[in-house]
Each structure stands twice: as structure tokens, then as C-alpha cells.
Amino acid sequence: MTTERVEDKVRDTLHAVALDRVRAPGDLVEKVVRRRSRRRFSQAAGTAVAVAAISVGAVFGFGDGGSARHERPVRPAASPATPPQGWKPWQSSAAGAGERGCLVDGSALYCSGSAYDVAKIDANTGKRLWSVEVNREGDGIDHPFAVRDGVVYAYRNHTAQNQSNGDYFGGTDLMAVKADTGKVLWTVQMPQDDRTEQAAMPIDGAVLANTPSVRTMSALDPLTGKEKWRHTWDKGIVCQRAVLSGVPYLLCARDVEKPDGTDVIRLDPATGSATKVTTLPGMQQLIGTSGDRMVLLAARDEDRKDLQLTTVNGSGEHASHPYRVKGALAGSDVVGDRLITVSRKGEASAHSLATGKALWTRPVGVKVPGQDTMQSIASPVVSTRQGVVYFLDPTGNLSGLDLHTGAQVWRDHVDTGRTKPGFAGSPQLLLYGDALVARNGSTLVSLLPPTGN
């Protein structure tokens, strides 16, 4: 390979590093200021004196200057499971705050429940910090979907008023809330009650929302909600939406049973100008994103057992592999670089997105609800640092499988209580550093799985 080609490969690699999940800690300013004052003190008083003072301060608990708390990031020791700074195991059963689901960002949980459209909860202690009350009702299965630059994005009912015929139909607003105070910054009405992950999503410099019509995506100013640009597609077309590294993409196909192909269209996040990057055969179903790729499934036969697993990047480069579904599935999720599926029989499988090959199939270690129930297991979460994929069932059973082999490395049970009638949705599992947050209904339990010890 010529030097020029090697340089290009290095350039591609650096730009392809998935940095989306890298986020600065929320208390960085405090850490910097404390670390600096300790260093200045140490410089002025001499190292020995400073060390003595810090030790005494630690014993007697003198303010931050004498605290033994380390502002410098501490690398975990050999044991992979390390509690987040300031975290202790906790359980919270604040009714109304979490039934609809939660999102972890920094050291906070942002949840939606029957009484609050957004409630900020300290992820270290489980204490509620502030909340935004529902607009008459909060009975969906939506929850805050993004936090960026100090703003939380969530949904609420558009109106509290009954219609003229006396019925109540709340409608849906997209809502931006200040993350530090809970003040509502703006709301924008959505044309339908779609509150799924494709209804609105953060992109570079804006929030892309499916408004004002069902065939339009609009880029809204993140601080004011004002429209910056909009892209509308033709009647008879359906478009799925995804975001790769801040750039929005549409996957559009004719709204018929067997469309010829699915167009992958890139929208310029600054202007909204559309560029078709490729067309893939048939109807491609977007099932997630992984790094710089969208992950798609397409049926190859009538009974939808023989599938085609395709990954496509923002330039339209794609790779497809055959993928066969065995038995009835309780769930499938793109988790990191793997497709993790769980069968109704209780077996978890991991497929490589790069090769399409099955990497392992092992007992999932939790109870998978039957096909005739509304509930299912939580979407699995992966700790890449620990190399473990975690599962949670509606009865509170937890299981951790080795990401590389599928062997069970941990199991536990948490008491998440009985779900309130009307909120019999699936439980939710979240990762906060190495700690887990298991949610069922409004009950939240945070624990540290001792994997790797």
C-alpha cells in the first residue's frame, strides 16, 4: 500500500471512531477547580505539609480542600466492576415518576411517569431533584430521549382540554426542558402520537422532529424550537429515520407490500438538502445503528424466517449477510457490534454485524414471558468495559452473559414490586457507569454487578 493510501486509511479510521458515547462529566468544572486549588496549596506549603493536611482533612471531613476525594480520573483496578463516583446501592419507588421509562445522562436519570413528564433523579442516590408535571395525563410508553448541552428533550400531551364532543385526546408535544432547573424552554406540537425513537432525534445543531406533518422532518433550533429547515417526502412514500454522528438519514420506500427498493437519503444537518447515497433492494427495516452504520433487516422469503442483515454507512457502502431466525423471538436488539436476540424458549444469541455469523447461543438466565402476554424482557445492555451483556425479566431476575462466549457470569434478583395496572409494559435496564439501574413500573433499583471479581 502506498504511503498516501496508508494516510487515507489512518484518516478514515480516526474519523470512524465512535465517539458519540464519550461525554464529559457534568461536574468537570468543580473537579478542575478543586484539583487546581489542591495543587496550588501543595506548591505553596510544600508537598509533605500538604499531604499531612489532606490526610487530616480526610479524617475530620474538612470541606473540599481537605477531602480525600480524587478529582483526577481514577482508572479501575483489575476488577472491572467499579462503582461510579459517589454512588451507593439505592432503591426508589416514587410513584408517578418512572413508569414510562428513563434515560441516563451524566450522573442523572431523566424519567417519565404517570404524574411527571420529566423527573430528574440523582443516579448516585435515587433522589428526585426536580420534575415537570404531566399535562393532564401521562400514560404513554415514552420517556426523555436525549440530553444535550444542558437541555432535556421529552414528550408531553399537547392539551388538557376535552374535545367538543367531550372526549379527551391529548395529542403530543415535543418539549425541551432545562436540565439543571426543570424549566420548560419550548414545546412544538407533533402531528401524531408517535413518541418512538424515530419521532424526534438530536442531530448536529438541531433537533430533527417529525413535524408539522407526518411526511415532514423539521430541524428545530435546540434552544428555541424554531424551525431551521424542513424536508418533506411525497405521498405514498414511507421514510424511516436514523442519525449517524449527528447527520440525519432517511430510508424511504414506496408504501406498498413489496417495494422494489429502499432509498438511503442523507440530509445536510445545516441546510436539510437531500442526497441519495444508495438504493437497497426490497423493503429494508431499520433495526438500529452501530457506530457509523445503520443496521437493516429485509425478508428473503414469505414466512420472514430467512432474512438479510445489511449494514450501510453514510456513504452508501454496505455489506449484507444471510440471517435466519430460529423459533419465535422475544426480542432483538442491536447492542454495540452485535445483534442480540432472545428466543421465547429462553435462549440468547449473539450475531456479529460484521460477518452475520452466529457467535454463540446460550440460556439467557431470566424468565422469558409467554407469547400471549404484553410484557417482555428488558432490552439488553452491554458493558463493553466489562465485556458483559445484561438481561432483566419482569419479575426482577437479572443475568449477565459474557459478551464473547455467552457464558453466564452473574445472576441476581431485585425486588421491583408489582407493576401498577395500566403500566404493564416491559421492564427497562440501564447502565450507569458499571452500575445497573433496573426499572419495573415506577420502581427503580440501582446495583453494582460484581462481574469480574
Binding site: 502506498t2 504511503t3 496508508v6 479510521t13 471512531v17 480520573p73 448541552d149 455489506a319
Partner: protein, 183 residues
């Protein structure tokens, strides 16, 4: 520091710290802890002279780059860092013909020295010319050129799929073209 400067500093950190941390992650070869440490050090230095700095982000970036090079100078025996688990690996999920190469390259970038990686990030991520890299790092252009050359040579060694360097290119990279290869 005056209250207004402190507020300005806080606002800057809130707005730019994630982007700067991402750069630090690249500079440290994916080491999240070293990256936060590097960013904290740069912000500490900036905090002390905040009111006197005109271009805050440029200043913090420069401190990060120089600090990374200084770490290499101070701790040469730790020049090669190994990362037990590569976080958010480069296109580790990316299927396609180049995905294996990208994964191998990202792992190899983690094994460059801090100085080599700083030069590689400046040249190929920030796309800065050699003269600007030299100005940022406070070293001669020739040092940047030779460091970049050695970095690529090391990457070739660590990632055999890149193949060996061609003899002609190797000679040209030294800065002159001897008669036997002149055309």
C-alpha cells in the same frame, strides 16, 4: 479569578468539554481515563489565566497537545500504552471490506507513543499542514515530518495488511532523491 471569568469558564466547559474530551480520547488512543486527566490538566492551566487568554479553545487544545508530548518526554518508559479493552473502537461494528483493517489500525494507533499519536491526530484528523503542527507542538517541521514517517512505519509493522513501504517512498521520505532513483 473574578466571578465573571469563572462564569465564562463554566460556560465554556459546559459547551465545549465533550468535544474536547473526544479529541483527548483520540490523543490517548481510546484511554478514557487518561483522556479525562489530559482534559482536566489543560482546563486547569487555562483556568489560571482565563482573563488573559484571547482564544480559549485554541489555547486548551494547544495545552492538550503539548501536554501529551510532554508526558511522552517525562515518562518514556510508558511510551507505548496498551489498552485492555478498546472503547468504542473505530468502526468495530462496521461491516464491509475495510472494517477489519480499521479495527486493526485503531488498535495499532493505541500502541503508538503519545508524541507519535499527537502528530498523527494533528496531521490526519485535524488535517493540519506540517508547519502548523510544528507551531502547535513547538518543534521543528523536520521533527514533525520524521515523527509522522516513523508513525506510519510503525503502523505498517503492527498492521501487516498495510504492506511494506516501497523503497522509493522510503528514500523520498528522507527529504532527498538520490540519483539512482531520479527519473
Amino acid at each position: 479569578m473574578e466571578a465573571s471569568s469563572h462564569d465564562e469558564f463554566r460556560e465554556f466547559v459546559e459547551m465545549r468539554s465533550t468535544a474536547l474530551l473526544r479529541l483527548a480520547v483520540l490523543l490517548t488512543g481510546g484511554d478514557r481515563y487518561a483522556a479525562e486527566d489530559l482534559l482536566q490538566i489543560a482546563l486547569m492551566k487555562a483556568y489560571g489565566r482565563w482573563a488573559r487568554i484571547e482564544q480559549h479553545e485554541a489555547y486548551v487544545r494547544q495545552v492538550m497537545y503539548r501536554q501529551q508530548v510532554n508526558r511522552w518526554r517525562l515518562r518514556r518508559h510508558h511510551a507505548e500504552t496498551t489498552v485492555p479493552v478498546l472503547p468504542d473502537a473505530a468502526g468495530d461494528a462496521a461491516a464491509g471490506p475495510d472494517s477489519d483493517l480499521r479495527i486493526a489500525l485503531w488498535a495499532a494507533l493505541g500502541r503508538l507513543s503519545n508524541r507519535q499519536r499527537a502528530v498523527v491526530v494533528l496531521r490526519y484528523f485535524e488535517d493540519l499542514p506540517e508547519s502548523e503542527v510544528a507551531a502547535l507542538l513547538g518543534c521543528p517541521v523536520g521533527t514533525v515530518r520524521s515523527t509522522a514517517h516513523r508513525s506510519l512505519a510503525k503502523l505498517r509493522k503492527l498492521v501487516p495488511e498495510l504492506g511494506p513501504e516501497r523503497p522509493t517512498e522510503r528514500i523520498q521520505s528522507l527529504g532527498y532523491t538520490p540519483k539512482e532513483v531520479q527519473r
